[in-house]
């Protein structure tokens, strides 16, 4: 960040505005606003205002806590949650359908939007922690989405679908790894080519294998029927799917592997200072290959969630930009699994929010659709600059 050049007052002013402390205070303010808007006697027509304010509060909190502003940050998060819940509560009071709101409301929808993002983000963390930028996540997800369906249809069981998704996501990642590790191609360029390639390959295969669309019943990743859980309205919806469990496991495992095992230590060392790792006998190339392929496998699982986990079909380019958003979550979450997951929840919340907003507020659907991106951009301002990536990320390593 030494390029932080001092462009006189403008730069300084903005920097002051983007101090974690300032942002945390802004977040708290938004949280209070959300709470206030949600509460009677102030009767807002739509649930949109408090939800949006709660979103901003959450965003600010999630952004600053891992950057050191813990106390204020947690306050912002708490108020954001309170405001959001208050808004939902208000809504249920109006609709008088408590049950239906809680079982399939904004939070469950948030989690479903976040699931594919979370898989891809965990993949992104592995790759970037080892020093390889992976904007090919999008393509790897797409591979997972297609080959998940293909495997499930071909074999008749979702298990094979998942395996195929992982296999082909991993293979595509291997190509990215080969180009960026051995051939030292620009990693962003290579990742971009990966996305193009995946678009072409999946489109090509989809058109040639299923010329009339997929008309057979696709074997789906099932829901676990843990009755005692499933009966609780909200929890049942959140934790009903096998995929949800896999996702939580992946997030926790990612953390444990990266920070509690020798493998993780090596991955991080390669991303921070490959030469240092090399001199103690760690295979830099080996670790990077492993990490990038892992990222492909995970991203593909995210894609498979979309196809055989959630909607049970494949459509061309069905990931529609989710890989890029996952990448933003990685940076937002400072390359830490827990916080990146929180960031995916945040983005998921943004998308989930668009639906009730459209329903309640009656604003143009297209305008609302820009909301997650605008809010993300707003939240990103000042935060990204402070995320310090692994020191060697993006730089090819030349063995002596």
């Amino acid at each position: 960040m030494s390029t932080q050049s001092r462009t006189a007052l403008l730069g300084n002013g903005v920097r002051r505005l983007t101090e974690p402390r300032t942002i945390a205070i802004l977040g708290i303010a938004c949280g209070i606003l959300a709470f206030w808007l949600a509460l009677p006697p102030w009767t807002v027509r739509s649930v949109g205002g408090p939800l949006a304010a709660g979103f901003v509060a959450l965003a600010c909190g999630i952004a600053v806590v891992p950057r050191g502003e813990r106390k204020l940050g947690w306050w912002a998060i708490a108020l954001g949650v309170a405001g959001t819940l208050g808004a939902i509560w208000l809504q249920t009071k109006e609709a008088e359908t408590l049950d239906s709101i809680l079982t399939a409301g904004v939070l469950a929808s948030t989690l479903r939007f976040a699931t594919p993002l979370a898989f891809a983000a965990m993949g992104g963390i592995f790759s970037e922690r080892s020093g390889i930028v992976n904007i090919g996540l999008e393509g790897m997800m797409l591979m997972g989405a297609f080959f998940g369906v293909w495997g499930a249809v071909w074999s008749g069981t979702w298990v094979v679908g998942l395996l195929m998704a992982m296999l082909f996501g991993g293979l595509l990642a291997l190509i990215h790894a080969f180009f960026s590790i051995h051939l030292r191609a620009d990693q962003i360029v290579s990742g971009f080519a990966v996305n193009f390639l995946a678009l072409g390959v999946t489109g090509f295969l989809y058109s040639s294998i299923y010329p009339g669309g997929i008309e057979t019943e696709v074997s789906r990743v099932p829901n676990v029927q843990l009755d005692f859980l499933y009966d609780i309205p909200l929890v049942g919806d959140l934790l009903g799917g096998v995929f949800g469990w896999i996702m939580f496991a992946v997030v926790i495992l990612s953390y444990v592997i990266l920070f509690k095992t020798p493998i993780g230590l090596r991955i991080r060392s390669v991303g921070e200072h490959p030469k240092a790792a090399d001199t103690v006998g760690i295979s830099v190339y080996g670790v990077r290959y492993g990490a990038v392929v892992t990222s492909g496998v995970l991203a593909a699982l995210g894609g498979a969630f979309l196809s055989i986990g959630f909607v049970g079909t494949f459509t061309e380019n069905m990931t529609s930009g989710r890989g890029y958003i996952a990448l933003a979550a990685v940076i937002f979450g400072k390359w830490l699994p827990g916080w990146a997951f929180a960031a995916t929840l945040l983005f998921g919340f943004g998308f989930a929010l668009a639906i009730p907003l459209q329903r309640e507020a009656g604003i143009s659907e297209n305008l609302i659709s820009t909301l997650p991106y605008v809010l993300t951009l707003v939240a990103l301002v000042g935060l990204i600059g402070r995320s310090i990536p692994p020191a060697a990320v993006g730089r090819p390593y030349v063995k002596g």
Binding site: A95, T97, S100, I101, T103, A104, G105, A108, S109, R112, F113, F146, F147, W150, W154, F168, L171, L172, L174, I175, F178, H182, R184, V201, F204, L205, Y206, S207, S208, I209, Y210, P211, G212, G213, E215, T216, E217, L306, F310, V311, G312, T313, T315, E316, N317, M318, S320, F351, A352, I355, P356, Q358, R359, E365, N366, S369, V398, K399
Partner: protein, 363 residues
């Protein structure tokens, strides 16, 4: 030097990978593909006589497998190839930029009849047809006005002597679907998931809403758009939201995206109604599907060109009045009770008689 020395093996590996990626996917398909290649020429050689006429189909954007305008319009063309022995080919538009060049190419390739699919392509059709006066055109989902109600602000394009507009009052099928929905709902709330807010989408929804209201004015109606025709996850979330709002019948009008809405209904154990074609493959929750006689319209248009009855400078309607035999709803499942089926039957008759005329737009 080290890295480059190892390259040969990695190169081999890489090429193998790329090929594996493709080959693996194609494995199951090879037979179909080759079979198709083999039979296509055979077909033409066995064709009885000279092809009657040659037809160029210019698609809308969204791909040929869109299970919507494109796929079923082209199905009509394929039927004409088989039954009428016509010749011709399809021009795919990937984006709006392709409309003009595709139409121009279709004219230049010497087709006698050019069928353009989709209402957004209409201005391009007018432009090309005005120049290529010796070729006949038909526009699916297009309407051509008569003087003086055309051409100006806020009006449809005027008729062109060699162009026929093919019109589908989708609100009729939507109306019947609405009756079904009103008949099977238990919660008193039904909903629609639209793709992008354009007339061909809104026609369905308008009819549907009217059908529901006419059956039971107390039923609550929900409607939302996904702004997307491909992202099935989005439509599924919207449908789930509507179901959480109490809807127990979901009518999708969102192309491939809408398959997600059907899936949501299946998952939540409520009813769904498909669109365009019989979408019962999505599961038993799909109690029926509202149909648009695209295949029929295209086939009929081609037939008129073959037997010389093609008449340009006008519109052809493929509504229930013109084609009372056309199926508007796919076969019901057992979930639709007999009285509802009877109500549908009754409304169909009323529409044929002109007693009911569902609106094409809604607020």
């Amino acid at each position: 030097m080290n890295a480059t020395r190892k390259l040969p093996w990695l190169l081999v590996l890489l090429v193998t990978l790329v090929l594996a990626l493709v080959a693996a996917g194609c494995g199951g398909d090879d037979d179909d593909g080759e079979a198709g290649e083999d039979t296509a020429p055979a077909d033409t050689s066995e064709a009885p006589a000279e092809p009657a006429i040659s037809v160029g189909m210019v698609s809308d954007t969204g791909g040929l497998d869109d299970r919507g305008f494109n796929e079923f319009s082209i199905a009509g063309f394929e039927r004409a190839q088989e039954e009428l022995g016509v010749d011709g080919r399809v021009y795919v538009s990937e984006s709006g930029d392709d409309y003009l060049p595709n139409l121009t190419a279709a004219v230049d390739d010497g087709h006698d009849l050019v069928i353009a699919i989709g209402f957004l392509i209409q201005p391009s059709v007018v432009e090309v047809a005005t120049e290529a006066t010796d070729v006949n055109f038909a526009g699916v989902d297009q309407f051509y006005g008569e003087e003086p109600d055309c051409g100006g602000e806020n009006q449809s394009p005027c008729t062109v002597p060699n162009v026929v507009g093919l019109q589908f009052p989708s609100e009729e099928a939507g109306y019947l679907a609405g009756i079904v929905a009103a008949g099977v709902t238990k919660t008193g709330t039904v909903s629609t998931v639209g793709g992008i807010k354009i007339p061909p989408v809104d026609n369905w929804i308008a009819g549907f809403r009217q059908g529901v209201k006419d059956t039971n004015p107390d039923i609550k109606l929900l409607n939302a758009y996904s702004q997307d025709f491909v992202d099935a996850a989005k439509c599924k979330e919207i449908a789930l939201d509507q179901i959480s709002q109490g809807s127990d019948v979901v009518f999708q009008v969102a192309g491939q995206c809408g398959l997600g809405a059907l899936d949501a209904a299946g998952e939540k154990g409520v009813y769904a109604i498909g669109v365009d074609a019989d979408q019962s493959f999505a599961g038993p929750q799909v109690i029926t599907s509202a149909l648009k006689p695209l295949e029929l319209a295209v086939f009929e248009t081609i037939r008129s060109a073959v037997d010389g009855t093609f008449q340009g400078g006008t519109n052809r309607f493929f509504g229930i009045e013109e084609y009372p035999d056309a199926e508007l709803l796919a076969p019901f499942t057992d979930a639709v009770p007999a009285d509802v089926q009877a109500a549908v039957e009754e409304a169909t008759q009323a529409m044929i008689n002109g007693e009911i005329d569902p609106p094409a737009t809604f607020d």
